[in-house]
């Protein structure tokens, strides 16, 4: 039985797009961990929701039972048109063997060495963005800053012009934030696919030093990598590299705007920044991923059937009091922090080094330029949720 309307019982009828859940999911996760801990819903074609660190990491490692062929938290509607991605978005939406070799093509582009080469550009970008509003005394820390950073770094990696940043951002929001709106999803997907197919053709004719060029020149099993696979990988980098990191940067700035004592401490003790960055990643992990059950199984007493969707709630796992002391507090100098913000197991976020660098540089630059700031109250802070949770508007004032 599918339910509409407000959620009464989160254990049996949860809705990840419920406005109250998007705004403040933390008490709901605490309740589910304490009394379930695996929740169930028939909404949105049905799903299980894992909320403890132990359950989430166990599922992430059991790739035989929990396949990555469907990773979308919000399922496509039945009337969604052909999405133009014949191989999906490998490696994230693939199981071995496709996962294994496509991930190997991707990883060197996000190695520590490669990421370090992108740091000066990221720093200049953050400075330039702040130059744009520093004199105003107010800004939207999400829309004017956090949202503007990852898209440009990803454009550089892919080798596409950052003048199209707003277009890319629009497509990715259509796909991820409005996943329950078939018109927007189709618009976003078609935008990405049509654009990247043209870029793939251009790189074949005129290769450069970028990810798309590298992919079109690569061979697998003694044959060129098929265009559909190149398209899937490039689309993944665009989709997974923008909304996610922007959400992490935004949540971090929202936290500091609402906890000025934490901002003040990081300004006076900048040596805490590395542990603070890991703590923000833990406390405000943006990403939930889905899996599909490959064969009937019982998981933690729950009868899961072939084809069932299972949501691995990494953000909830990272607030599990069984694993983290003071799990619901942000502890800037938390020394032991085995968080799984970037997932766990073979699908560990391929871009985690890049995301970590972008968050570190964005935070360090903001605090140096704008050490004292707070919410302006001009309008409400707004949040997006579902697959990726983060603030979309954070009006702040500063001196």
């Amino acid at each position: 039985m599918a339910h509409d309307g407000p959620v009464i019982d989160w254990a049996t009828d949860f809705d990840v797009m419920d406005p109250g859940y998007v705004l403040d999911p933390f008490p709901i996760w605490d309740e589910l961990r304490a009394k379930c801990p695996v929740a169930r819903t028939d909404r949105r074609k049905g799903a299980w929701l894992l909320t403890t660190y132990a359950d989430v990491t166990e599922a992430a490692h059991d790739i035989e039972t929990f396949s990555s062929l469907k990773v979308g938290v919000i399922p496509p509607t039945d009337d969604a048109p052909n999405l133009g991605l014949p191989f999906g978005l490998p490696p994230i939406s693939a199981d071995p063997p496709l996962h294994t070799w496509t991930r190997r093509l991707l990883l060197p582009w996000f190695s520590n060495t490669r990421v370090a080469s992108l740091e000066p550009m990221t720093r200049q970008l953050c400075e330039r963005l702040i130059d744009g509003f520093a004199g105003n005394g107010h800004a939207d820390a999400a829309a004017d800053y956090a949202q503007q950073i990852p898209v440009r770094v990803i454009a550089k990696t892919l080798g596409v012009p950052d003048t199209l940043s707003d277009t890319f951002t629009g497509w990715v929001r259509d796909v991820l934030e409005f996943a329950d709106d078939p018109v927007k999803v189709a618009r976003g997907r078609q935008g990405i696919v049509n654009y990247l197919l043209e870029e793939i053709d251009r790189r074949k004719a005129d290769p450069r030093d970028d990810l798309i060029s590298s992919l079109v020149q690569t061979e697998h099993d003694d044959a060129p990598v098929e265009d559909g696979v190149v398209l899937g990988i490039a689309s993944l980098v665009l989709i997974a590299g923008i909304d996610t990191t922007w959400s992490a940067i935004g949540s971090t700035l929202w936290h500091l705007a609402t906890h000025p004592e934490h901002a003040q401490r990081l300004v006076s003790e900048p040596q805490l920044l590395p542990t603070a960055v890991e703590e923000f990643l833990r406390a405000y992990s943006p990403v939930t991923m889905a899996r599909v059950v490959t064969s009937d199984t019982e998981f933690k007493g729950c009868p899961m059937h072939t084809g069932d969707k299972v949501l691995m709630n990494f953000p909830a796992a990272n607030r599990d009091p069984e694993v983290f002391d003071r799990a619901d507090e942000v502890v800037l100098d938390r020394a032991h922090n085995r968080h799984v913000a970037f997932g766990s197991g073979i699908h560990r976020c391929a871009g985690s080094n890049l995301a970590r660098m972008e968050l570190s540089v964005a935070l360090e630059t903001w605090l140096r330029r704008i050490p004292v700031f707070g919410l302006s109250g001009d309008h409400a802070v707004t949040w997006a949720g579902g697959q990726v949770r983060g603030p979309r508007s954070i009006p702040v004032v500063f001196r």
Binding site: S111, N112, R338, F342, S344, G345, S352, N353
Partner: protein, 65 residues
């Protein structure tokens, strides 16, 4: 103290390398390894313990020699 990275468990989170590049290396595919034979000088014991406690894959361990 001597430490080791289990290559089967390591998934390339690179937390160890961020905490202590003196003790760990990470290749272009994210695979971490200990520098040298993994012997930890006394002044780096605390960093080694932090790396062990922060690895999301429980891939780092102390070797009993």
């Amino acid at each position: 103290m001597r430490i080791a990275v289990d290559a089967q468990k390591c998934q390339g989170h690179a937390r160890c390398y961020a905490l202590s590049p003196e003790l760990f290396s990470v290749d272009d595919y994210g695979q971490a390894s200990v520098n040298g034979d993994g012997t930890v000088p006394p002044e780096l014991v605390e960093k080694a313990e932090l790396a062990i406690a922060n690895c999301p894959e429980f891939a780092i361990s102390v070797v009993d020699d």
